[in-house]
């Protein structure tokens, strides 16, 4: 028996500056507080005013993790939105708009004309409240009640005083009632009451930020750059409460060198940027490698080269991050597929950075970074925190401390300058001896490369988890992907799994590349009829990496490089072409 799930898509479109994020953000929060699972994604232009942007919310009674093209409700704040998106609206769907504001009347069963602006002026005495009316109207259409929205309005307008708050609440109610009584077909939605449950709603950048916070990161330096700025903003908003130091650097070169300086001084540190900024950080990355200073870097990809498409998405920097920085030194790259993975992998990034004294990357992109997902909970017991820093008490009775002491593991004691009694900590970007002083002799050079790189690598490799297999355990069709394509691939597997033996192989711990001894995924690929590599880039960077690391060559690839994420429909269409 086929179980039909509730699964609706709401798209809010308009110009930059019209408050799409505020409306979309509020609605996403309302749905999740009501107990619905939510997935949001943002499509916007690199401008402060004008243009065309949209904020899409998918909500359901089960977890949703990708966007759909087909829309159930379109909330149009300008005429352009209707022109662009009306064909995406399903037959039974609705288009909410205000004909008076956009100066055009549309005919058809889908259109519900609501005087957002007039209601705002009549009731709120201010046209600014039109967005509150519109938000109320969406809820009225869905018959979802106003309780959560009223709570959000009270919080949002608390500082502006009682009068403004009450006017907004009245506007929301008027919008709600108008939509509710003017929508003749709304029972078609038949929204069932969701389970009573608490869901957390979080996007990728905040998940990374909270992961850092809960890993003991106390120093974050960055230069603002979309789409990494969300990490900076989140951590800055928590700085006072949790005692962090946040520094907006003068450029990315400074940002990475600051993170290294703070880490050298004993504080868990992180920097974040996008591809262009990371290009500037490369020498600093190499410095972290040479000085063996723990460093976590979030690289939130957007389409390049150069300035590229600043507000859009791509997985185009994988091989760049893998090869960035001159010289040879170990590194780890994580590419989370969900905000939940981003949270735990950021924690693991700090653990490995501190344990092995290496740079570790969280590689993500605009799509995951700015998409909100719902989860039942994050289990804080899964978080790892080991303090690898050496202090005075750890060095009691020790003879001379040597920052780069040769050890069996290649890992030298990492003392904190000034907190290690009278011991002296010396770090050097030149090749150096055990004490940290500049040398040029070949023998020391060889021993240091062995210590820094060759001895650590096999241990680091063992830390890497195998890729995630989802779906059939001996599949005929395998979808292979990495990072932010997780959600769309997983939903596609669910769609096909009714009549096909299909699975997804998702890589989130990308480098060192997962070894085959614990899970021979290559064997699984070879036993399948069709193995498709799916990537949000033009050259199939992961497929190249797979070939380099394992010799396996994908015969089928789906590559998307229009700066937009895969949607369920367009990925399915591409896969169908191979079937």
């Amino acid at each position: 028996m086929e179980v039909k799930f509730l699964d609706y898509t709401l798209r809010v479109g308009g110009e930059a500056g019209q408050g799409l994020q505020t409306i979309g953000g509020a609605l996403a929060k309302i749905f999740s507080r009501k107990g619905y699972h939510v997935f949001t994604h943002q499509d916007y232009m690199s401008r402060i005013r004008g243009g065309h942007n949209y904020y899409q919310i998918r909500f359901s009674d089960r977890q949703v993790m990708a966007s759909k093209e087909a829309v159930d409700i379109l909330l149009a704040l300008d005429r352009n939105t209707i022109e662009i998106h009306k064909n995406s609206v399903k037959d039974g769907g609705f288009i909410l708009y205000d004909s008076e504001s956009i100066k055009k009347k549309f005919e058809g069963p889908q259109f519900i004309d609501i005087p957002f602006r007039k209601i705002a002026l009549d009731i709120g005495k201010n046209s600014v409240m039109a967005n509150t009316v519109a938000t109320g109207a969406v809820l009225g259409l869905l018959d979802l009640g106003l309780d959560v929205l009223n709570g959000i309005l009270r919080m949002t307008f608390e500082e502006k005083g009682e009068e403004i708050t009450e006017k907004n609440i009245a506007c929301a109610e008027a919008g709600y009632n108008y939509a509710h009584s003017n929508c003749t077909r709304c029972e078609a939605f038949g929204i069932p009451e969701p389970e009573s449950r608490k869901l957390l709603l979080i996007d990728g950048v905040r998940a990374i930020g909270m992961g850092a916070l809960m890993s003991g990161c106390m120093f974050y330096s960055a230069y603002p750059m979309s789409p990494s700025t969300g990490i900076l903003n989140y951590l800055a908003s928590r700085a006072e409460e949790y005692g962090l130091v946040i520094e907006q650097a003068e450029d990315e070169i400074s940002a990475v060198n600051m993170a290294i300086g703070a880490s050298f001084a004993g504080v868990r540190s992180m920097t974040g940027t996008s591809g262009g900024g990371f290009s500037l950080m490369e020498e600093g990355l190499s410095l972290a490698g040479m000085t063996e200073t723990p460093l976590v870097v979030a690289e939130m990809q957007r389409p390049g080269p150069a300035t590229g498409l600043p507000t859009r998405t791509e997985q185009g920097d994988l091989l760049f991050v893998l090869h960035a920085g001159h010289g040879e030194f170990p590194r780890v790259i994580f590419e989370p597929g969900t905000p939940e993975q981003a949270f735990y992998l950021t924690n693991k990034a700090f653990e490995l950075a501190e344990k092995y004294q290496i740079p570790v990357f969280i590689l993500s992109d605009q799509y995951l970074g700015e998409s909100e997902w719902t989860f039942e909970n994050f289990d804080l017991k899964r978080l790892i925190y080991n303090d690898y820093r050496i202090r005075e008490k750890d060095l009691e009775g020790a003879e001379g401390y040597k920052r780069y002491r040769y050890t069996d593991t290649g890992i030298s004691p990492l003392a904190i300058p000034g907190e290690a009694g009278k011991h002296i900590v010396v770090a050097d970007s030149d090749e150096h001896d055990e004490e940290g002083h500049i040398i040029e002799d070949a023998e020391t050079r060889i021993k240091m490369v062995q210590k820094r790189l060759l001895k650590k690598l096999p241990q680091i490799k063992k830390e890497i988890e195998t890729p995630l297999l989802y779906g059939d355990s001996s599949p005929e069709i395998v979808l292979v992907g990495h990072g932010s394509t997780y959600g769309v691939m997983k939903e596609i597997v669910d769609i096909y799994s009714k009549d096909r033996k299909i699975a997804m192989m998702h890589f989130s711990q990308i480098y060192p590349f997962p070894e085959l001894d614990r899970f021979d995924y290559i064997k699984l690929f070879k036993n399948a009829n069709l193995v498709i590599s799916i990537e949000n880039n033009a050259s199939g960077q992961f497929a190249k990496l797979m070939r380099t690391e394992t010799g396996f060559e994908f015969t089928h690839q789906i590559l998307k490089y229009d700066g937009r994420p895969f949607t369920i429909e367009n990925l399915k269409e591409e896969i169908d072409a191979f079937l």
Binding site: S32, I202, G243, D251, I253, N257, G266, P417, G436
Partner: protein, 283 residues
């Protein structure tokens, strides 16, 4: 009390007769006389002949990248403001490669001291012009002479209201030591530009050239007068003033960050328990 010998590092690999030797021994003297122990000091450097100084002094040191001395030093100070942090750089290191960081360190005003070994030439890369080289300086890389106008670090710093601006001379160690002590004990970002000859590559600005020109600012000179300080910073030619040009009392970066007012960041204990409720903000 620490002694000069407590700061003894490795044997320097500088050219015989280099002004760096005087600067190095003066730093050690200044630190010893201030009663600062080697484990209370962090010296951060970049790359260049000055950048090698950390290896020749015994204290915490971080010898980083060319030009990037100040970001590392600033962040280390934010992470542990109980350390005395001294940034050591050359004229190419600080004023060319690291020019942007120099500007912004002045603006941030961390309580660190910046000692710039200014020999008006590139030493490590063997003799190219530096930002402070005189116009029409001829080098292998400047066949028509250096065509840029020389950079005036003091004027720039004063124009940006830098908290402490001074010039010393490697050949006047007594004076240099007092300037270093003043810079280290100054509350705020202190720039000490130290003129020194490069005996190998700069045949013009020799010890004698400097000795013939350098004089100390008058005893009654008022370093709190910004306009006068700017005027004096423009003096360069037959007469070159040395001393503390400008001082301004202002809040330091660390003082303005409320989260480190009670203790250095590095001493804060972390427990995930204390953050448990953070997750509630996402429901």
């Amino acid at each position: 009390m620490p002694s000069f010998e407590d700061y003894e590092g490795q044997v320097p690999a500088w050219c015989p007769g280099c002004g760096n030797f005087q600067i190095l021994s003066t730093i050690k003297q200044a630190l010893a006389e201030l009663g600062i122990e080697p484990w209370e000091v962090l010296v951060v450097s970049g790359i260049g002949q000055a950048g090698k100084l950390p290896h020749y002094i015994k204290c915490h040191t971080f010898n980083g990248l060319h030009g990037r001395t100040l970001p590392v030093a600033t962040a280390a100070k934010l992470a542990n403001h109980s350390l005395h942090v001294i940034a050591v750089a050359g004229d190419g290191d600080c004023y060319a490669e690291g020019g942007n960081h120099f500007l912004h360190a002045i603006r941030r005003n961390p309580n660190i001291s910046l000692f710039v070994h200014n020999n008006q030439i590139y030493g490590l890369t063997k003799g190219q012009a530096s930002p402070t080289s005189a116009k029409r300086t001829y080098t292998q890389a400047q066949p028509f002479g250096y065509l840029s106008h020389p950079f005036n670090p003091l004027s720039l710093a004063i124009s940006q209201d830098c908290s402490f601006v001074a010039r010393g001379f490697a050949g006047d160690q007594e004076h240099l030591k007092e300037l270093m002590k003043a810079a280290i004990t100054h509350r705020g970002f202190s720039l000490l530009d130290i003129l020194q000859p490069c005996v190998t590559f700069n045949k013009v600005n020799t010890f004698k050239w400097y000795r013939d020109r350098i004089y100390r600012l008058e005893d009654d000179y008022d370093p709190y007068n910004r306009i006068k300080a700017f005027e004096r910073s423009l003096e360069w030619g037959d007469k070159i003033p040395s001393g503390i040009f400008y001082k301004k009392d202002k809040e330091t970066l660390e003082e303005m960050v409320p989260t480190i007012s009670e203790m250095p960041l590095v001493r804060k204990k972390f427990s995930v328990e204390a953050l448990k409720h953070e997750i509630e903000s996402f429901y």
